[in-house]
């Protein structure tokens, strides 16, 4: 899955010579920018302090901001996220790290039942301005319990904003938006993209949550992707171009708010749509997007709606098996080619 770790989707033309930043560095930089701006921003999580995080996404924070703003925790996911919630309700803007997104299952009550509901069930008396950051996704041979794309777990629960950037600049801009948001945000950082490089974000860069990015314009088919599937979709579009199929590529960037406006506008141009999802087909976000399109965009359609999604199995360990499960450029190309002839 080399394409996942080296691609630089969305890099403006000519930026190659400019300074580049990795996605991994962008995480720490995005958090640091907000910590500099706002003294109520604090971080907590396992091994995030002196160790700089197991993915090295919090390197430098302890040094710059000290132990009163960067807190190492026990292995207590419920306490981490529950404490973040209590702090967010009382004037702070905590940024909690859950090391692997699979471990969200260990504090799922907070994500499913507490954080997204407390504002509503108190009739708006409290807000919960927190960010739960987590390393998401597969392709690295980490096996069934450390590889899942779990954004769909969160997507089943109204009341959570869901961010999943695909580029370093978006990491910084969306981190700013997430931390400044008065609503809770689950921030999915993709493990397969940590090493990816891209142009740095200008000072003050903020990417509003809920705005998809059209990364490549095209006339024949719309590909909608998220996070690590964005470089896959872009690579597929390149290959399809050689076959005279002109694909538009949309990076959703967020699941909530879901930018159906951008997707439907694209569909109006292309009349064909394929989602590219890392997650299993069953229960994936692409299904919800497709259901919006199959209803509100039905009249625009010239062909079936298709989803390239993960197989409905746990993630296997071996590369050869994992590649069979997660969408690849080949699989996207094959599905789109087939659709183009419909």
């Amino acid at each position: 899955m080399a394409d996942m770790t080296t691609a630089t989707p969305g890099a403006p033309a000519g930026a190659a010579a400019a300074r580049v930043i990795t996605y991994r560095e962008a995480v720490a930089e995005g958090i640091a920018r907000e910590m500099r701006r706002d003294p109520t921003v604090v971080c907590l999580g396992e091994d995030i302090g002196a160790a700089g995080g197991v993915f090295k996404t919090t390197v430098g924070l302890l040094k710059e901001f000290g132990p009163e703003r960067v807190w190492d925790t026990p292995i207590s996911e419920q306490a981490i996220v529950g404490a973040a919630m209590g702090a967010a309700m009382t004037g702070m803007r905590p940024v909690a790290e859950i090391m692997f997104s699979d471990f969200l299952a260990c504090c799922w009550d907070y994500l499913a039942n507490e954080i997204p509901k407390v504002r509503y069930m108190t009739g708006g008396q409290v807000t919960v301005p927190l960010v739960v950051r987590t390393a998401n996704g597969g392709g690295l041979g980490f096996g069934a319990q450390h590889s899942q794309a779990t954004e769909n777990w969160a997507f089943t629960v109204p009341g959570l904003k869901i961010a999943a950037p695909a580029t370093p600049a978006d990491v910084i801009g969306m981190m700013a938006a997430a931390i400044r948001s008065d609503d809770p945000v689950v921030f999915y950082e993709h493990k397969g993209l940590f090493a990816a490089k891209g142009p740095p974000a200008p000072p003050g860069h903020v990417v509003e949550l809920g705005r998809a990015a059209v990364l490549r314009e095209g006339a024949d088919v719309t590909l909608v992707a998220l996070a690590s599937m964005v470089p896959v979709a872009l690579a597929a579009a390149e290959r399809l171009a050689a076959e005279d199929i002109d694909a538009e590529v949309i990076d959703l960037r967020c699941l909530v708010p879901l930018d159906t406006t951008t997707v439907l506008a694209s569909l109006a141009r292309t009349s064909r749509l394929v989602t590219v999802e890392e997650n299993p087909y069953q229960g994936g976000w692409g299904a919800t997007l497709v259901s919006v399109v199959a209803d509100e965009g039905f009249g625009l359609l010239d062909a079936p709606l298709r989803r390239v999604a993960g197989e409905c199995v746990p993630l296997p360990f071996a590369d050869a098996l994992e590649e069979r499960v997660i969408p690849t450029v080949d699989k996207v190309v094959a599905k789109v080619r087939d659709l183009a002839t419909y």
């Binding site: 419920q78 306490a79 529950g82 404490a83 973040a84 039942n113 108190t122 008396q125 879901l258």
Partner: protein
């Protein structure tokens, strides 16, 4: 507690008792939907603790939380209106009995997933410390909550970070219908776990408002002074069943009788007598309470239902509920 303080506490407890009675009657007559978990019998814990707290401290309660809402300053009308699905309820009828909240007075909510609010209280205490205030946070929870993972994680984190948070267990001997002793490895579900977190475990008669106030005051002082969390196990008993119309037949008659004789209001009355407070003063308090609750029931009854459009507000901080563009 001085006589006037105790009288005030008594009146607050009587207000809780009356309000719970009213809630029960309203439920039975079909005016309260869903469920209720009444705290009659637990009054001294909420009122005694509140007397030891500052107005800017934070309280987190459970689905059995009417007494905490009232003790922190919610009015019977706000509470009953919420139970009766009125727009004037504490949460605009979005929360219901299990989620009474009065954030403006530091009552940061009632949580209905057992144990979930313990880490939140630790977080509020952490926040107080980060903001450099000397507020503390208190989580009230049942004996049953001591066997869930969040209890363990919250206690450990609070102890390691020396957070100004108190964990107050309202041990009423039962989960829903199962005796806590049947499912707990130690006799004191909370206090016997304290040492596992390097904190002191203390048991108090949770029906004696004076003892509760003292115990909480001591732990609150320690926490405020930076000595870390406190864990208090307050023994009590519920007068009603677990919820709704539960007749609580699983409780032995002698046990019920013994505890009803050890009633928080009776105990306070005895103490008032001993302090020389005239019986009329107590009667007057009772009369004020009766009137207040009757008026509250009336007002709540007459309050409007929520506008159905309110169902689609309050999800996000902008007041709305839009999940897509």
């Amino acid at each position: 507690m001085k006589a006037d303080e105790l009288l005030a506490a008594y009146e607050q407890m009587a207000l809780v008792r009356r309000t719970e009675r009213a809630a029960h009657d309203l439920f039975m007559s079909g005016l309260v939907k869903g469920t209720t978990h009444l705290a009659a019998g637990h009054e001294a814990i909420a009122v005694g603790a509140s007397a030891a707290l500052r107005p800017d401290d934070y309280v987190f309660a459970t689905y059995r939380g009417h007494h905490h809402a009232l003790a922190r300053g919610a009015t019977p009308e706000e509470c009953l209106a919420e139970l009766m699905s009125r727009a004037t309820g504490l949460c605009g009828a979005k929360g219901g009995s299990m989620h009474l909240t009065k954030a403006a007075s530091g009552m940061l909510g009632s949580y209905a997933i057992v144990g979930a609010h313990l880490p939140m209280a630790a977080g509020a205490a952490w926040s107080a410390r980060l903001r450099g205030t000397d507020q503390i946070a208190v989580a009230f929870f049942g004996d049953g909550a001591t066997n869930i993972g969040a209890f363990h994680e919250a206690l450990n984190l609070a102890a390691v970070w020396k957070l100004p948070v108190l964990f107050v267990c309202e041990n009423n001997l039962y989960m829903e219908y199962t005796p806590i002793a049947d499912v707990t490895a130690v006799p004191r579900p909370a206090a016997d776990r304290a040492a596992a977190y390097g904190v002191e475990g203390q048991v108090v008669d949770g029906n004696d408002v004076v003892l509760v106030r003292e115990a909480v005051a001591r732990l609150a002082d320690r926490a405020r002074a930076g000595y870390g969390p406190g864990l208090l196990e307050a023994e009590t008993y519920r007068h009603f069943g677990h919820s709704r119309a539960d007749p609580a037949t699983y409780r032995p008659a002698e046990e019920v009788e013994r505890w009803l004789k050890h009633d928080p209001l009776d105990l306070a009355r005895g103490r008032l007598r001993a302090l020389g407070v005239p019986a009329e003063a107590v009667d007057e308090a009772d009369a004020r309470v009766a009137e207040a609750v009757a008026a509250a029931v009336e007002a709540a009854r007459n309050a409007p239902a929520p506008d159905p459009r309110e169902a689609l507000t309050d999800v996000w901080a902008d007041g709305g509920a839009a999940w897509r563009t």
